[in-house]
């Protein structure tokens, strides 16, 4: 039996989310199945937790499309000075599409943000924060078919802060489809 380990008496909020972990595991499994990766002398790819051990960037999700940089700055600077703020944009319209990357100067500021800001409200919406490997050009754009985030494609609930109904959903159900016609 492995030795007993107990980091803390309650869970920590400053860890990568289960979403990030599962995404990472999926990638790792894919690598594992890849024959190129079967060479015995190949170094195992670093553990996600190691990769994020010095992370200073956070992914911030569930923002309203109307939330401004200034608002984000106002809240997130409560956890330390912000080095860079990159708004997530619709790939086609270049308008905010409900997420952003916040980069701090230090790792501990980013962790503080996970602990104290993730799951609280900004612009009256509960926002989500996740530790991120770091921003790279291109990642500021939505990866959904219609240009925004994937989660906004099929949403069946009306969310006025995120463009109403999901875009695919609107098209397929025909909800308010006439708005797209222009006459």
């Amino acid at each position: 039996m492995p030795p007993f380990r107990l980091q803390n008496t309650v869970d920590r909020l400053d860890k990568p989310s289960s979403y990030a972990m599962s995404k990472y595991k999926k990638q790792a499994r894919r690598r594992h199945d890849d024959p190129r990766d079967q060479q015995p002398d190949r170094q195992p790819s670093p553990d996600l937790e190691d990769k994020l051990a010095d992370a200073t960037t956070l992914y911030v999700g569930n923002l309203s499309f109307y939330t401004t940089e200034e608002q984000i700055h106002e809240l997130f600077s409560k956890c330390g000075e912000i080095k860079r703020l990159v708004m997530g944009l619709d790939r086609f319209n270049k308008t905010p599409c409900g997420f952003c990357f916040v980069e701090y100067y230090s790792h501990s500021d980013a962790l503080d943000c996970l602990k104290y800001i993730g799951g609280t409200k900004l612009d009256e919406r509960i926002i989500r924060t996740d530790l991120d490997e770091g921003f790279a050009e291109g990642r500021q754009y939505g990866r959904g078919k219609s240009g925004g985030q994937v989660r906004d494609e099929y949403r069946e609930e009306f969310d006025p802060g995120r463009g109403g109904f999901g875009k695919r959903y609107q098209e397929e159900v025909g909800y308010a489809g006439e708005y797209g016609q222009g006459n």
Binding site: E69, K115, D123
Partner: protein
């Protein structure tokens, strides 16, 4: 774990909709989980797991008596003591609980006491480990952890042959005396006395030794001199320094150790009832231990066999620890008021509860949701009937017959959180942690917490005149952030009568600043919607304009033409020569108008900076990228002329006059670029724009000076840290050491500049003021009070920084031995081993 960050929204028919590709069909389940419908019948988890879970949840189960839980856990331990894993689980979980969730200490101690009755060895082992950990903490100067481990040992007092922990208290006292004799400003000695005084009640509540009360009284006689003397630094950390002469202070704020001293003397006089502490262990319950198997030989313990207390040496001199300590005052919004909703400060329960609650809050900052849960259940961890039932309304307390308790658990916990938000010079964690903890508490129990918060908010608002200015700012910042989490709902009608107060009144200044902070987190139109009509004047329509006008678009503005040319060139990314040409024209025209060269330079600076701001008005990143593009010219301005440098700040505040928060942010970035200097910001605020002292009532100016000074002091902190970081190459450390005096002098000059400006205002010495007012004028009184408020804040900060720097520089720089230790072993002691247990 709470699933607050779940990405998918399960509300409504989110799953299984016609377009949800994630839909799972029954077939999928069968394929993926063939055993799903044939789950094996429930079998109890292994003993290690049961023990861990049981310990972590100790005290939380209200359906079973605490002693039943303790007995069951003791049995699990004793029955499986030959299993190393189980032993480890017990030791590590217990130790971790002691130093992370202090409210559970008496509960885990009870488990040890019950286990001891059956297996002396089990108790001896945990005592030895606790002594080792204590030893480590005390050697490292980790005072809070040392205090908690000592408390755990004190709760086990009845196990020990002779004196147990008492000799340690004596030793700690000797060290405190040494420290106090060495320096009257010493705070570490006070911390030691605090630890002694906070251990005594646990010792007396849980020991059997009948000679203890006498010894405790003797020790209290000794601590009296240290505990009762007023510390010279106390005045600096007073949250209510501005109380007018003769007026009643909003709260007394006695020093924590002086309170403890008096409370313990009171307890001694009344026979150490210590009614607050839960008494879980009772040897007569031994017969009730459900003994699974009498014949398994586990009953080799003997309840009368005492343990030897491990030898612990308190080092001399002691390690003061890495944290700069300050005397602590007892901050309470609710204590000693007409209705006793929290223990009065004459009762030892007030300090014991506060200590356990604040430690829990500060130790569990990594999970505010779990912390809020512990706070919500605080009454579970103390003796029954100490509190009224949770959620009892404040008004109901009046109807409770005399002699019964009227303490509200919600008031005790919220009071404790506020004591941290209002801690001077600074709380342990970022303020936003305490904000978020209050938010979580409201989410768990809105009906119970909201009214308590309401009383806290009103209490603080009433006392704003006397409150320290930094705390007034923290109050505003917290309240705006809090409201942003709860639809900005507040009984705004209550403060309508205060709206007619002059702008210089602290209450009015608070309301104006609060609304601005709300707008910064939201937007003007939304905030107006949440307010009653009398507030509308404070949010004029101009606040709704996101992008300010470019003033040079108006021909009435001097140099309008040149302004438009500059912005055109900047937008076009024209060459520097072309821009210089326009600037030269401005200078020529200015000269022709009879303006001197300095004034001309200021005009061209205004045009240039305003154009940058206008181009960047869309968002912070826009303005930053524009500044970045223009930074050469901006950087060149300062060295040419200081007035031009300050003109940059003026242009920023003029352009963003309706959104001064944005202006503050931009100046913050300009400081990073060194386009403006800290001194130019201080002088711009407190000389150029002091407006006879009125500026001091503006929260934006307080914010501007605060962020500027934070940058400066933070830099000194970082240098000190590097200087004393043994992993940094020695050469580099020496260089930093050489640079420190200069940095420190720069910091001192800034503090002196602030002092100069605000002390003058406080004394009413501003020339223009004397001309305008003759003595009793109300406005001049307001202004002098603001001057005094600022002076206290910045004098405190200067004193704190001096202390931090002195402590940091007092650490000797020793060149490491020539032969370096193998990587990772250089400065790792037992502590790291302890961390590795994690």
């Amino acid at each position: 774990m709470a699933d607050f960050e779940d990405r998918r929204d399960y509300r409504g028919g989110g799953r299984g909709g016609p377009f949800n590709k994630r839909k799972r069909y029954r077939e999928d389940d069968d394929r993926d989980h063939p055993s799903r419908n044939q789950r094996p019948r429930y079998s109890a988890p292994p003993p290690g797991t049961q023990l861990r879970k049981g310990l972590l949840e100790i005290g939380e189960d209200t359906l079973r008596m605490p002693h039943e839980v303790a007995i069951q856990l003791a049995r699990l331990l004793v029955d499986n003591y030959d299993d190393e894993y189980v032993k480890d689980v017990f030791t590590i979980t217990t130790m971790k609980l002691v130093v992370e969730q202090p409210v559970k200490i008496p509960f885990v101690a009870a488990v040890v006491l019950f286990a001891h009755m059956e297996k002396k060895e089990a108790a001896q082992d945990i005592v030895s480990t606790a002594a080792e950990w204590f030893d480590e903490y005390i050697n490292k100067g980790q005072w809070r952890s040392a205090k908690l481990m000592l408390r755990f040992l004190a709760c086990l007092s009845r196990l020990f042959e002779q004196d147990g922990v008492f000799p340690i208290l004596d030793e700690l006292f000797n060290r405190a005396v040494d420290l106090q004799t060495a320096s009257p400003e010493d705070a570490v000695g006070l911390e030691l006395v605090k630890i002694i005084l906070l251990t005594i009640p646990y010792l007396l509540a849980y020991a059997e030794d009948t000679t203890l009360p006498e010894k405790a009284v003797a020790l209290l006689e000794k601590t009296d001199i240290v505990a009762s003397a007023a510390h010279p630094v106390e005045a600096l950390v007073d949250p209510y320094p501005g109380t007018a002469e003769g007026a009643e202070r909003p709260m007394v704020c006695a020093s924590v150790i002086s309170l403890l001293q008096r409370q313990l003397q009171e307890e001694a006089a009344t026979g150490w009832a210590l009614a607050l502490l839960p008494r879980i262990f009772d040897p007569s319950l031994k017969s009730k231990i459900p003994n699974g198997d009498e014949t398994n030989g586990n009953t080799n313990g003997d309840s009368n066999t005492k343990l030897t207390f491990p030898s612990i040496i308190v080092p001399s001199p002691i390690n003061p620890g890495s944290k700069t300590l300050f005397p602590e005052l007892f901050f309470s919004l609710f204590a000693d008021q007409e209705i006793e909703s929290v223990p009065p400060t004459s009762n030892i329960a007030s300090t014991l509860l506060r200590d356990a609650t604040v430690d829990t809050i500060n130790l569990l900052d990594f999970n505010r949701i779990a912390t809020a849960k512990v706070l919500n259940e605080l009454d579970n961890f103390f003796a029954p009937n100490i509190f009224v039932k949770r959620s009892t309304t404040f008004d109901k307390l009046r109807d409770i017959p005399a002699g019964s308790t009227t303490w509200k658990p919600e008031d005790v916990t919220i009071d404790a959180v506020f004591s941290q938000i209002f801690a001077l010079p600074a709380p342990e964690h970022r303020l936003v942690y305490y904000h978020s903890l209050i938010t979580e508490s409201c989410k768990i129990s809105p009906g119970a917490i909201a009214p308590t918060l309401g009383r806290a908010i009103r209490f603080l608002f009433r006392g704003l005149d006397a409150m320290d200015a930094e705390l007034g700012y923290r109050y505003m910042d917290w309240f705006a952030h809090h409201l942003s989490n709860f639809e900005f709902r507040w009984k705004w009608t209550e403060w309508i009568p205060d709206l007619v107060l002059p702008a210089l009144d602290p209450k009015k200044s608070f309301i104006v600043g609060l609304l601005d902070k709300e707008i910064r987190l939201s937007f003007a139109k939304r905030i107006r919607e949440t307010l009653p009509e009398p507030y509308f004047d404070l949010i004029p329509a101009s606040k709704e304009k996101d992008i300010p006008d470019f003033k040079f678009a108006d021909d009435a503005t001097p140099f309008a033409e040149e302004g438009r040319e500059i912005i055109y060139h900047l937008k076009k990314k024209a060459s520097e020569e072309e821009i210089q040409k326009v600037i030269d024209t401005v200078h020529e025209k200015a000269a022709a108008q009879g303006l001197d060269a300095e004034e001309a330079q200021k005009r061209s600076t205004d045009i240039y900076v305003t154009s940058i701001l206008s181009i960047g008005s869309k968002s912070l990143s826009h303005v930053l990228s524009t500044i970045d593009r223009c930074k050469e010219r901006l950087l060149a301005l300062g060295p040419q002329s200081e007035p031009s440098r300050r003109q940059i700040i003026s242009s920023v505040f003029d352009f963003w006059s309706e959104h001064p928060g944005i202006a503050v942010n931009i100046v913050d970035k300009l400081l990073n670029y060194t386009i403006v200097t800290p001194m130019s910001v201080i002088e711009w605020t407190l000389k150029d724009n002091i407006d006879r002292g009125r500026a001091l009532a503006s929260p934006h100016y307080f914010e501007l000076v605060s962020i500027t000074m934070f940058k400066v002091t933070n830099r000194v902190h970082q240098l000190l840290q590097h200087r004393n970081n043994t992993t940094v190459p020695f050469e580099q450390r020496l260089q930093i050491n050489d640079a420190l005096p200069r940095e420190r002098q720069g910091m001192r000059d800034l503090f002196a500049a602030i002092e100069d400006a605000v002390a003058g205002v406080a004394a009413g010495a501003q020339d223009e003021m004397i001309e305008r007012f003759d003595g009793e004028d109300a406005e001049s009184e307001y202004i002098k009070a603001w001057g005094a408020r600022w002076a206290r804040v910045w004098r405190r900060k200067a004193a704190v920084e001096e202390q931090i720097a002195n402590e940091g520089l007092a650490i000797e720089m020793v060149e490491p031995a020539a032969v370096p230790l193998p990587m990772g072993e250089a400065d790792e002691g037992l502590g790291e081993e302890m961390d590795q247990i994690e």
